[in-house]
Symmetry: C2
Subunit: 229 residues, 2 copies
């Protein structure tokens, strides 16, 4: 695909690497400084390229911003779906497995660099780019929530949970396991690993108090196994 036959495809290479480092640096600067406060020269310096190269690649500041959001959305979605794939469909220990899932979701999708950046850009500039973030909403929450809800539905169907509305349950699950991290998220901080675990543990316990089947044989076994361990 890099042969001279290609009519309008990409320039040689190294090109793509630069594009990446530009978008990466831009993400950081846009997040720190906001769109208006972001300085192209600073982005260039952090990306290790010249200002002109940025203009060659992306045209102008606004197009660069759009590219950043698209990139982040795509990477975050990939991360979320990869994590959803680890959802415990046939849990051995429901509590432990759900806690594990919650922790993975946090560490791989919400607290990591991409997640933090995307969240901040949405909060900061969401109102300024309605179409762009409408797109995000479709591609992101619009696809991930149903996927998560489907997993909870499956768990309910398998007799592990007593939930009526899987969509509500999915949202409440996330609300619970992140309940103790909200203030940290607000200020743009990253919770420590033990804080994530703590919040997930408390959240899942409450979730199971509400929706867990009353101590099936399996869960009682686990319970005593844990107690004796």
């Amino acid at each position: 695909m890099r042969l001279s036959v290609s009519p309008d495809t990409f320039p040689p290479r190294g090109h793509e690497a630069k594009r990446l480092s530009i978008v990466d640096a831009a993400a950081g600067v846009f997040c720190r400084e906001g769109f208006a406060g972001a300085n192209i020269d600073l982005i260039a310096a952090e990306a290790g390229v010249s200002r002109q190269t940025i203009y060659n690649h992306h045209g102008d500041k606004e197009k660069l911003f759009v590219a950043v959001v698209r990139d982040l959305t795509e990477r975050c979605n990939a991360g979320i779906f990869a994590t959803i794939a680890t959802f415990p469909d046939q849990p051995k220990d429901l509590e432990a497995d759900l806690i594990g899932f919650a922790v993975r979701l946090n560490q791989n999708c919400i607290c990591n660099r991409d997640g933090k950046f995307l969240r901040k850009l949405i909060q900061t500039e969401g109102e300024r780019y309605p179409e762009l973030f409408a797109e995000w909403r479709e591609q992101g929450p619009g696809r991930t929530w149903p996927a998560i809800a489907a997993r909870f539905a499956r768990l309910a169907y398998g007799g592990y949970l007593a939930i009526e509305d899987p969509d509500v349950a999915a949202r409440q699950f996330l609300g619970l396991v992140n309940a103790e991290l909200q203030t940290t998220f607000m200020l743009g901080g990253t919770p420590r690993e033990d804080e994530v675990l703590q919040s997930a543990t408390n959240g899942v316990r409450t979730f199971l108090r509400a929706f867990g089947k009353r101590r099936s044989v399996a869960s009682v076994e686990k319970q005593s196994a844990l107690a004796s361990a």
Copy 2:
């Protein structure tokens, strides 16, 4: 206090009214445009004063920003404590009363103008003003969470709830009743009244499934009353 005796107090008046309208307008513009993008001329226009007046009152853009955050924090805190005062200490219908409280909390503290603005400024500029927002954290969450937790502890002590850790329960309560509003909050939107009620209702029901005492006589009565209604 307006007599000529006062040595260094405030100028006559109307003064204070101007200060208010400046801070109000500034809050709106800072939220829409971010600190860097906010334009003093625009703030002046929206406040209906001249640019010079802003400088007379607040010195410079940064001091104005600090004044805005302080004002919002103060007003929001007042609103939150006023709402906490309506917490159902001796509930007649625990579910309905908690739903009512959740809805009030949302409408009076989170979804109203001040709440939205403060939240956005924290998210947007929190990292740039560590001391300012550390102050907010102390004055705001640092004081309101214990107050809310104390109310839940009281409910537990009164036999209405079975909770171990009132602090955790308080945070989970808010996480649950706002679980379905997160995406809207992210994009800076205001959920409709029925969405708030829906989320609160679902959240409180789950909360009570987890922490409610098993169907006291009173709650069974309510339950059937509702069913027949």
